[in-house]
Subunit: 146 residues, 2 copies
């Protein structure tokens, strides 16, 4: 996003969403948070398949600013930082699931577990709930164990 600070956003939901997460790396980070249980800076780096450290730092702080992630310090090991998804982030799950559904239909290279996609198409709400469970688990691992 170059220049043009004072755009007329005009109450458009799509433009708002665009400003929050319409970016290649944002998609990947959100995928990692919502579906892969990643919570640490280092995890995102390793998993992001190529994101640079400065870009990752930039995106994480922007997600914090927009209320998608919260930043926390590990109590016992204070040098470790973890990021947790907010409710606002959890509510992105339906969007990302329908993206997965779409990609599976239109990209021949996409490989989603048959079971997962079938389950989603039969009962989307259930898959949404299950994904939330997954997230709760990942959160617990980070907040309790350490």
């Amino acid at each position: 996003m170059a220049r043009k600070e004072t755009i007329n956003w005009n109450g458009c939901p799509i433009r708002y969403a665009a400003s929050v997460f319409a970016d290649r790396w944002n998609f990947v980070i959100l995928r990692d948070v919502l579906f892969k249980g990643r919570r640490y800076y280092g995890d995102f780096l390793a998993a992001g398949e190529g994101i640079s450290t400065n870009i990752l730092a930039d995106r994480l702080s922007k997600f914090e600013a927009s209320g998608i992630l919260t930043r926390h310090q590990d109590r016992k090991k204070r040098s470790r930082i973890y990021y947790l998804p907010t409710q606002k982030a959890l509510e992105l799950i339906p969007i990302f699931l329908s993206i997965i559904d779409w990609a599976e239909r239109h990209d021949e290279h996409t490989e989603v577990p048959e079971q997962f996609i079938t389950a989603y198409r039969q009962d989307a709400d259930k898959t949404i709930a299950e994904t939330e469970q997954l997230i709760a688990l990942a959160n617990a691992q980070v907040t309790n164990i350490h």
Copy 2:
């Protein structure tokens, strides 16, 4: 997207989707196509609230390349060009509707007609179908009248 042509996309649906439409201006163009009936280059320019001509041209040709839009010449007035959404584009509707739903819940500035959002929340499939109707109408206006 600078450099890094040879990424390991790895069959990930989110990365595929990111490569096709995760970009500020892509969001706006798709909004215009899916919900506002815009079909002409000039319409996109006027409505995009600030997109540059070169960026618009770039995005339109990429959408063509990725099978989201098809480019057509008006028969009677051959200098006019219109773009039509493909089936692949139509199937983005559920994604964009859930984005609208999400933004309405989390952005105080977002102004979506109450009626629309309520209808969507009560019966998503119906709103999806209605949006498809809207698109059919916009297509007809472009392909028949001229």
